[in-house]
Every structure is written in structure tokens, then in C-alpha cells.
Amino acid sequence: MQELLTQLITGFGLPAWLSFFLWAVVLYGMVAVVGQVAVVFMVLMERKVLAWLTQRKGPNRVGPWGTLQTVADGVKLLFKESIVGPGQDWFLFTMGPVIFFAPSFVLYALIPFTDRLVGITMPLGLLFVFALSSLSVVGIVLSGWASNNKYSLLGGMRSASQAISYEIPLVLSALGVAVAAGSLDLKTIVEAQNQGPFGLFSWYWLSILPVSFVIFHIASIAEVNRIPFDLPEAESELVSGYNTEYSGMKFAMFFLAEYASLFAMSALVVVLFFGGYYSPVGGLMLERFAGVHDNTLLGLEMVTWTVLKTYFFIFFAMIIRGTLPRLKPDQLMAFSWKFLIPLSLLNVFLVAALKMAWMTDGMLLTAGPFTFNLTYWITYGLTGLMTFIVLVGFGQLFGHKQPPLPGLSAAGP
């Protein structure tokens, strides 16, 4: 498609570099549309899931089964007055949501939905993802500052410290993936997970990087500011944190971007640890069981798997939101610096050692798909043992000991 655009541009006698910009615009437009649709669905899903978790019905008035609720909300937010109060810096106040909004949606361009349906394929994709996702904190800090509100300021400050703390375990745990797959390209990482014999069980989440997966998932929840890490917008103490002063479309941008980055981060978990677009039985089901080799059909299956897996993690994040209380800032920092970061450093070291031991052809465990091999069992055993020792050992070493829980004593009958 990019070639087509280039031909079109040059055919009109325009310079070829223009096609690059136009392509970027087209691409971002597509990403934004896909992203918006996903977000609209996710907002409805979140409200429905949270309602089910608490034995309620959730939105059920607007449209059949409440499906148009988020559309109605969006229209409402679109038409609401966007207030900029006195004492607020208009420029920064407006730029905050924009800076927060843009990177979350650009992330969509990097996710490989199939082996062909990728917005941008770049060898350093993983790095670029982290570069983008950490940009959004600038928007939060800006809007927290520009709001001229103490709650917002506190929220922005908390967000900055949280982002700094959780970027590190996030990147370090993804580093394990990069080491195992031997590449930073997201597509190569997905392909590398299609090498083992058992599909689901040979994806990185269990086969060689369980610790990485846990750290990455925790850190990704922290990265998108969801409960239990939603300190920047802690509703009970900071009212709404950095977006207290926002209304109308500016608030909607925060709202949309939060869900967009949740989708992107969940998709990243899928890509890095859950075999991306491959089915849980290894390879693609249509190809293996029906013998289909049509690229369109296979592509559809790939998209289905990616989206299904992604929504599973979104769903999981929603259940977590329904269950867990919120951490305190100091506990959040302590958890990251005292627990996650040492753990992920150790994990990187162990993965590297494992790779040194069983490295073949630049990829770990490239014995070809669907073959049984003693190497796998040894690897599994080792990783299992490693996970156990690492978790338990860290619990003993770094988990600050809590005092013995007090029982209640009853005074007399």
C-alpha cells in the first residue's frame, strides 16, 4: 500500500518524500480509527465486566444491551464545555492531553496483528514501544502542573515517580524476551515463540520466562495507571488526580488514551509472552487441521488470535480492578525498587545463562515445531526450579516482613 501511495505521489509529479508524510498520515488515521473502535468497545466492556463482578447489570439503556452507551458518552463529552479556569496556563493545559493521547495511539502501529498487518516494521520495535509508552507521562506531568490545582500537581508528581520506577522493570523483563528471541523486532519475537512443541506451553510466559511475564504484566498495569497502581488519579485522596480540572473533550482524550494504552500494553504482553498471532496449539489451526493455505483466511485467524488474547488480558485487568485496593506511593516505589528491579535483573542474568547453555542458531530452542526433545524437559525443569527459587528467595530477602497478624481476643462471654 505504501508503494501504491508512492507511485501515486510521484505520478502527480510531486517529490517522493511527500509520500512518506502522507503515508504517515494515512497510517495514523487508520490506527486511530481502529484504536477508537477498540476503546469504545473496551469502555463498554469495562463497565459491563465491573457490573457483572458486583452483580449488577451495567449499562443497558442506550441501544440494545447498552452497546451505544459509550457512543452516547463520547457525544456528551464532545459537546461539553471545555473549561480553562483562571490561573491555568492555556497552552500547557491543552498540550497535556494531546501529549498523553498521541503516543498511546501510535503504539497500535507497532503491534503485529498478523505477520503482514503491521503498521511499521522496525528492527528496534520493542525499544520504540517503550520510548513511546514512556512519553505519555510527560502529558500527565504537564497537565498536573498546568491545572493550577494541588490535587492535580500531586497526581502529576506521583505519575512521574511511578513512570520512572516502573519503566525499569518493564524494560528489564522485556530484555529477557529479547535475549531469548535474539531480536528486538516484535515479529521475530512472535515467530520465535512458534518453535516449541506444545503451542501454549512453549510460549515464553511458561517455557522460559515466567518471571519475566509476571514482572512485565505487573509493570504494564502500573504503566497504564490502573488499579492497584492508579496513584496519579487516586480517586479517594486526589479526587481525580491530574485530570481533576479537565472537562469535555480534553477529559475524553485522557479517558480514551488510558484505554488505548491498556489495549496496547495487553497486546504487547500477548506479543512478548503469548505467541502473538499463533494459536494455543502451536502454529495456526486452519493450517494444521484444515490444511488451508489461503493468506487471507490465515490472516483472519491470526488477527482473531491476537485480539482474543489481548482481550483476555484486558479482561484480567478489569477483574483486578474490581478486586484489589490501591497501593500507597511509598509502597509502590518500594515494590518496584526493592523487589521488581532486583528480581528482573536476576532474571535477565538467568535467562542469559540459560541461553548460553542451549543456544542454537541464534534462537533458543530451535528444534523445529512439534518435535519432542529432552532439551525441552530439562529447560522446563530448570525454569520451573528457577522461578520457584527466585520468587521464594525474593520473598524471604526483599519482601519486608510483616508483623505476625494479630488475632482478636475476645473478652469474656
Partner: protein, 408 residues
């Protein structure tokens, strides 16, 4: 404290805020009167240094409805419905205190059956009140689902109350010397059904919350306070029992028929938010115990049974002890004899008292409310000094302040 209030409040022109140098020192944050977690209209003038709270000054009075002045301009019976609003989460306790004060002054005798009904309703109300506390406390800590579960079960209690009194929150049920009507048929079975159901629900709450590591992080060792300080500040109720003092009016000066049922007074050991949580959860279980025993022991049994016995001509079934309305007084013309008394009751938040002075007119000469939350709130600045800002919500939530009772 004075520092927080005496800061100059000059009005700055637009835009000046951002150009001014930000003082790297302390910051005064005005929490409330409208804030998601002040549970009403409490205002907290908080001085913070980063995330550390240096000073905190509660400002109350935003919900002042002059309940005490109202007592002096209305007859006792006219005043009675409005006292449900003193502490609306446990309105039966308000009513009980007021009604008992007058009963003591006038020497009215309350039938046994009525005392049991009062006990059952008050314990159900205690559960309802603790449930609301549980929900909002967890909501303050950031967990959303427990609040909905708590409200779901609270609704069941309210349905029972609605069958009994006709209202879900403002009951106006007790009367001087009795109540305005007997229980509807099958009400006691409904209460028992609720007990059986709620036992499982409370297990679920504990599975979600009690040992959750994040919850432990937020509450264990937070807001620790010793019993002497609490008593000196007049703090009572579960907040005090969390610090290890088994001070419970139901045990010490048994009113109603609390001396005829067996129950424990759970007390904590460390006096932190977690212990206060444990105490309240255990209290709900104890309340269930009391309700079960009371339903078993209530004289006359269920209303249907009593009606049948009366229809069959059983004279004993018409015994005054089995009447629920008790000693009826003409509510229109009743003049209470002169006298004064302070009655206290173990409300879900501590000692709820009503100091009633009558002077022989239909009105009360003076009616003073001693709200448990009023005294409990005074320790908040003490507990918050030097703690982190988010601890404010945990500590404030754990002492269970209800603002209408503070302001009256």
C-alpha cells in the same frame, strides 16, 4: 494548627500563580467539604510536605441542622421522627437513646417482648452500619467491588426494616414505652434467613479483603494509637476496642436484654487500622449471634404464633410482657414529668448519648446529643501527624466518622 488557617488569602490576578516561585516547603491542601472520601461534609485543612502530612485541622459544622434547638420548639412526639436524622446510618440507636431517656424520666416500663425487638433491630442496624463502613472503607483504599457487595447485603436488612417500620432508613418505630406496631408475620424468619445468608457473605468479604497483601500493606501498622490516648480523647466504640480495651456498654451496663444473650466483645491488639477492621468484622459476626439467640428467646415467639394463641383464648398471650406497644401514652397531650438523665448506648461507633432535661411541658427543656463520632473525630489530627497523605483515607476511614452525628 494556626499556621494552616492564618495564611493570607489575598486575591491574585489571573496568571500570577504560575509565575510565582513555588515554595518548596509545606503546602496547604483544603480537603473537603466536598471530597469523595470525607464521607459527607467534613473539611480538613491539611498541611503537607510532599506526601507527608504535617498538620491537619478538621473543620465541622457544614451539616449542622440544629437538632438540639429543634427539640426545644417541638413536643417530644413531634421531635421524635427528626432524631432519626441525627445518625442516619443507625437510626434505631438514636431512637432508642431518646426513647429510653424519656422512659427513665417518666418511669415507663417497657415490655420484655419489645426489648427483644429493640435488640434485634439494633443489632441488624449495627450490621447495616458496619456494612456501609466496610464498603466505604475499602472504597477509600481503592477497592470497588466490596462496596457493592456490602450495599447489596445492606439492602436485605433495609427490606426487613421496611417490612417492620415502613421506612428504609428513617424508621420512627420506637415509642415511649414500646413501639408503634408489632412485627409482621414471618418477620423473625426473615431475620433468621438473613443471618444464614449473611454468614456466607461475610466469609466472602474476608476472602477478598482480610489477607490481601495490598490491604495489609495499607492498614497494618497504620494509625497506631494506644488505648490511654483514645480514652483521654473520649473515643469509644470499635475504634477503642481495636486498641485492646473491651469497653462495651452491652456488657458493662446491659440495657435491653443483652444480659440474656451470650456474645463476645472482640478486641484488637495493636490498635492500628487493621485491628479496627478486624474488630468490626468480628462484631458483625457477634451481632448475628445475638440476633439468632434473640429470635429464639423472644417472648411470645413469632407474631403469627402469638395471634393464634390470643385467638384461642390463651390469657397468658395477652400478658403485658408480650405486648409490643407497652404502656401507651397519649402522644398528643403527653407531658413528661420534670427530670433529667443521660442515656448512653453502644452504637456502631461508640457511646451514643442523649442528655434529656424535661420540665413538665410537652417539650424537652434541653436535649443534648453526645455523638460518638464527635469525640472520635478529635483524634484524627493526632493519628495523622507525620503519616503519608494516602494514609489519611485509611485512618479516617478506619475510625468510621459519620458527619451528621458530628454536626447534629
Amino acid at each position: 494548627m494556626s499556621m494552616a488557617t492564618e495564611q493570607p488569602t489575598q486575591s491574585l490576578p489571573q496568571g500570577v500563580y504560575l509565575e510565582k516561585d513555588i515554595d518548596a516547603g509545606e503546602l496547604t491542601v483544603n480537603i473537603g467539604p466536598q471530597h469523595p472520601s470525607t464521607h459527607g461534609v467534613l473539611r480538613l485543612i491539611t498541611t503537607i510536605d510532599g506526601e507527608v502530612v504535617r498538620d491537619i485541622e478538621p473543620v465541622i459544622g457544614y451539616l449542622h441542622r440544629s437538632k438540639e434547638k429543634m427539640a426545644e420548639s417541638r413536643s417530644l412526639f413531634q421531635y421524635q421522627p427528626t432524631i432519626d436524622r441525627v445518625e442516619y446510618l443507625s437510626a434505631f440507636f438514636d431512637h432508642y437513646v431518646f426513647v429510653t431517656s424519656l422512659e427513665q424520666i417518666a418511669g415507663l416500663k417497657v415490655p420484655k417482648r419489645m426489648q427483644y425487638v429493640r435488640m434485634i433491630t439494633m443489632e441488624l442496624n449495627r450490621i447495616a452500619s458496619h456494612l456501609l463502613w466496610f464498603g466505604t472503607f475499602l472504597l477509600d483504599l481503592g477497592a470497588t467491588s466490596p462496596m457493592f457487595y456490602a450495599f447489596r447485603d445492606r439492602e436485605k436488612i433495609f427490606s426487613l426494616f421496611e417490612q417492620l417500620t415502613g421506612a428504609r432508613m428513617m424508621y420512627n418505630y420506637y415509642r415511649f414505652g414500646g413501639a408503634n406496631a408489632d412485627m409482621p408475620e414471618g418477620w423473625l424468619e426473615g431475620a433468621l434467613d438473613f443471618c444464614d445468608d449473611f454468614e456466607q457473605r461475610i466469609d466472602e468479604y474476608e476472602a477478598i479483603v482480610t489477607k490481601n497483601p495490598i490491604f495489609l500493606d495499607r492498614t497494618v501498622g497504620v494509625g497506631v494509637v494506644d488505648a490511654e490516648t483514645l480514652i483521654a480523647h473520649g473515643v469509644t466504640g470499635p475504634t477503642l476496642r481495636g486498641s485492646g480495651v473491651a469497653l462495651d456498654q452491652r456488657k458493662d451496663n446491659p440495657y435491653c436484654c443483652y444480659d440474656e444473650v451470650t456474645f463476645d466483645v472482640p478486641v484488637g491488639q495493636n490498635g492500628d487500622c487493621y485491628d479496627r477492621y478486624l474488630v468490626r468484622m468480628a462484631e458483625m459476626r457477634e451481632s448475628l449471634k445475638i440476633i439468632r439467640q434473640a429470635v429464639r428467646q423472644i417472648p411470645g415467639g413469632d407474631t403469627a404464633d402469638l395471634m393464634r394463641r390470643r385467638a384461642e383464648g390463651d390469657e397468658a398471650a395477652n400478658d403485658i410482657e408480650l405486648q409490643i406497644a407497652g404502656q401507651k401514652i397519649n402522644l398528643l397531650t403527653y407531658k413528661a414529668p420534670p427530670g433529667e438523665v443521660m442515656t448512653t448506648v453502644e452504637s456502631p461507633r461508640g457511646f451514643l448519648g442523649c442528655y434529656l432535661i424535661t420540665d413538665g411541658t410537652p417539650k424537652a427543656y434541653r436535649c443534648k446529643w453526645r455523638g460518638a463520632s464527635f469525640s472520635n473525630l478529635t483524634v484524627l489530627p493526632l493519628l495523622m501527624k507525620g503519616r503519608l497523605f494516602p494514609d489519611l483515607m485509611a485512618i479516617f476511614g478506619s475510625i468510621d466518622v459519620i458527619l451528621p452525628e458530628v454536626d447534629r
